[in-house]
Symmetry: D2
Subunit: 340 residues, 4 copies
């Protein structure tokens, strides 16, 4: 089988290697990967070495999000049998609640970080607790988008924000998390506002169910949010840009609103005015993807509400570098790899 690996930080060290199909241990499953989705954090790990380590035993394999089929199970495995379609739990060991970790480092680590195996590989062995059932109605390419992008939006809006019908949800841009936010919000009967610098993308977002699109290059988007909500503001905001951009999201938020900090495009620090935060009793949520119970809920919601994750482009798994470049250029939805 083939798998992606690297022995030093930097894109130039990324190589497609050949190896034996691994054998699952007593409580493990062997999954034949059908598709794997790329996340911004994969690029940070591969190019800059962020939040990754080179494992002491075995190769480093990147990638955390995949959909595939169980092809073999260990002797003590009770949850799965060969033929089951599954998706990965990208943060192994986080079942529910706040999860493991300490004040210094937080946690947990992700698949494909070197702490745990990666999924940019034709086959992967995972603990039986690190996969959940795939949605019945999605292709592997679509299902592979759920473990991080879909779950991040679900955690922000549903698990932390307790979204309900009739509320207003603002998503920034049209990347993978934002489009999942749009679709999850629409499935809950919420009003969805999307901001973008590209009218064509706004039109595509409207086709997916967005109620309003704001071209942030044409006008002050915060003022537009106030107008579109008759002064009420947005009850939920997915802050994708991050950094000082947060300050504007706080202005756009409704009294009692929820703002989830997700993106780091605007920098690794965030800033805002205390007066907005206090006078509107806002809640800011730090989001690290989400736990397994939420992922199981998301799978049920995707099936019931008929959500089809938006895949910008599916590359053959041998074209990971091209796929990484594409992701950096700002796709509409997700960029994924498909495996033979």
């Amino acid at each position: 089988m083939t798998y992606w690996t690297m022995t030093a930080t930097g894109r130039e060290h990324l190589k497609l290697a050949h190896g034996d199909v691994p054998v699952p241990g007593p409580r493990e499953v062997l999954v034949k990967v059908g598709a794997a989705a790329l996340n911004f954090r994969d690029r940070l790990a591969i190019d800059d070495g962020l939040t990754m380590v080179f494992p002491e035993t075995g190769p480093f394999v990147p990638g955390s999000d995949m959909a595939g089929t169980v092809v073999a199970v260990g002797a003590a495995v009770e949850r799965w049998q060969p033929g089951d379609r599954v998706i990965s739990v990208s943060l192994p060991g986080w079942i529910d609640g706040s999860g493991p970790g300490d004040a210094l480092l937080g946690g947990p680590e992700a698949l494909g970080s070197g702490y745990f195996p990666g999924v940019f590989s034709e086959y992967v062995v995972l603990d039986q607790e690190w996969v959940v059932s795939a949605p019945a109605n999605l292709t592997d390419a679509e299902a592979s988008a759920l473990p991080m992008a879909g779950l991040t939006a679900w955690t922000a809006l549903v698990e932390r924000g307790r979204l309900r019908a009739g509320q207003t949800v603002l998503v920034q841009g049209t990347g993978g998390v934002s489009l999942f936010g749009l679709q999850i919000a629409a499935a809950h009967g919420a009003k969805v506002i999307v901001t973008s610098g590209d009218d064509a993308k706004l039109a595509r977002a409207a086709a997916l169910g967005a109620d309003h699109g704001i071209n942030r290059n044409s006008r002050d988007w915060v003022q537009a949010v106030h107008e579109l909500t008759a002064g009420h503001g947005a009850d939920h905001i997915l802050e994708i840009v991050g950094g000082a951009h947060l300050a504007r999201s706080l202005e756009a938020a409704a009294v009692g609103g929820h703002v989830s900090l997700i993106g780091v495009l605007g920098g690794f620090e965030f800033a805002g005015k205390i007066s907005d935060l206090a006078r509107k009793k806002l809640t800011l949520h730090g989001i690290q993807v989400g736990h397994r119970r939420s992922l199981e809920e998301l799978v049920r919601a995707v099936d019931q509400a008929g959500i089809s994750p938006v895949i910008d482009t599916a590359y053959p798994h041998t074209e990971l570098p091209e796929a990484l470049d594409h992701m950096t250029r700002g796709p509409f939805g997700k960029v994924v790899l498909t495996f033979p």
Copy 2:
């Protein structure tokens, strides 16, 4: 009767005036004020005109927090009768939930802001909905500390943070909100850590029930929090300094922790690292005092748990300027005015 008033912004315009005792309307009560507590926001209003207006009819009277006795009631008043001891609801009209307001201004406004009457006055007329029963076991001076300082700590720890026994609460400094935070946390069976630059104040905090004191001038207080909690961190933090100081509080917080932004001593902007926020799934709460239902709960808690608010100094009501100066110097607990 006498009352404090001003016709232009700035301490030099603050004057003690004489007038008639007002008469309550059909749904109003007349309260003889026993004591009134000072808040930092009073100083910002008086000295700098912050979040205040000069009312079109009648004089501007500062002050939002008082305890006193109902001495007359309007014809349609059902909630109160003469002789009832009450404290003020400092943010009138906010009964429960997120309360009134819009995305532009938030809300609501406070007593003593010019939008509503102020309580630095021997008598005050208030809507019957704008007062709640005073705790049975406190003096007026003590009870006057509840409407803003006590309620702010309660909102942060209990209403928003859902504090439970065994958790760790960190309070910064020994001002009014922080000491209420200490006492409320201790009453809930929490571990309390106090930071201060003054060993004498830490000793007094320990006498009030703090489990640990950290002199922030002697050592790195964040590291100390990690050590005192065996790496777990603080589950709840009252961020009193604000501004960039927030970044350090995020480092001190536990996985799943709650950080309430309260103070503005460090500036009106806040900043921190997204990595701390995300990897520890923190929740940041913007706190604007609290609603009436929480104030009623706080009153019951104070009585049941035997909490005695800490009054640094009680000044005769004629010495408001001296009291404001004292508050600026960093008292241990609250500075209040007492009325004859």
Copy 3:
């Protein structure tokens, strides 16, 4: 103007009377009623005198739920102006949270109970706090169904149950509350199962968005729920029958499920097995309609999600007795009165 009234308990005392259009007090509004919805509790009050009193001043007027237009406002009214379309808050004084009341009687009382004015009248004077904006997209007949039937379903599923997409909601029968439950659940992306003894009604429910219908006369409905959910059970159940029927709902519920006790057709006592309750960690909710904040949320949800309340039959307001009889026969949705 005409209004319905009675001077003694019992249907035979119900009379359409004539009187002057009332004049609003300083904080009141005069509403020209467009439509009023009937609730089971109206029948209990009119026929059996349940939870009603004859007011000491003025006539008893039944009816709590109406939609209409503000035609005059008192001098101190700030929330409304003539021309505003409004619906009634059926439990006056309950703004948010748990609301008023004590351990002996609970509370609050409803409009049309004698404690408060009733709305089966061409015009009604209400406190400005006792109405909220009507949905923009509904007729008065449709909007009049929200204050009790719609709000009861919203409170059970959303406010208490915290419904999310992908969960399974079971509603019993096809009365007003159940059909609102169906529509609210579908608007949140939930799977909806309806039980009924009538296949024609199940077909109509499917057309409204129900995923599955179970004819309870054809088969064991609890077993059917287990099968339709692959053993998972229902996450939310609106228990409309009540009494001992609750025991079966507990069997149908999922682990961690929510069961809302709403109906009293099966008797005023409820019963069930502790083992179901405990081993599935169920939560049983006692539901008394809901508070004003929830009603405002429901109005926004209805407009955003395009929910059209189901009106079985609209009677001219002069035919209240016929309408009451119709309601007793088990309508599909609501029975309402329309006013000229």
Copy 4:
């Protein structure tokens, strides 16, 4: 080593057997048991065979709650090392949230049920995930009371009820769960009312921190609760009797109150009036002990708040039959076995 076992249902088959000390598997720990607490469910299993099975391999060993010391660990164990003091997680596999199980059977099963090993044994082998750290300040006898009795009270009051200072908690009787409820409530600054038929027990409860005792044989205890709370009622009730007794608890509850159904002394069915449930918007909680995350929180709370579990009598582990008889007679707190 010795351990208790039986090959057929019924007390007469209960025997103390001898066997080899077991050896832990790769992810298991061997614990030398210091003390084990008895629960009512142990008697139901031993005497009546309730919710138990005879395992296909190995002997049936009763008992779910123990405190002891890790003496050996498997090769893959990371959480523990020899010398660690631990207590058992009585419902293995329930980490957080609603946990595993389906609509038919609920779940999970307990230690000592035959589905999982039992702890009435000098040594027991358990999965490393099935124990948590013991409180630092308790003896083994005291600590053994936490896994079921302590956790049940914590789940009801804190995890489900979200208890806060100043609220009123009613506990019925002075058994193990009730006394934990008393102590947990007092540690959170709540007002505690205890009912009992025995004045001596009420006096002992007062010494433990109860604010009020009501002798249910001397007067109507519901009326007494109303009086002691000035008509407010109890915000939280631990319903220990169950059956039709629940109806009285509903009468005693406050508006918005929480009633947790725990006991089955009054029968395996419960009953009450819908009017109490609805008009007071009560929440009834089905409680099955609790999850591991709550148990970890309880351990921290016990250490921080200085809670000492009440042990009525500690029997040598060879006297299990005598201990079971004692438990049936209504002890004050817990009956435990101590091991050499």
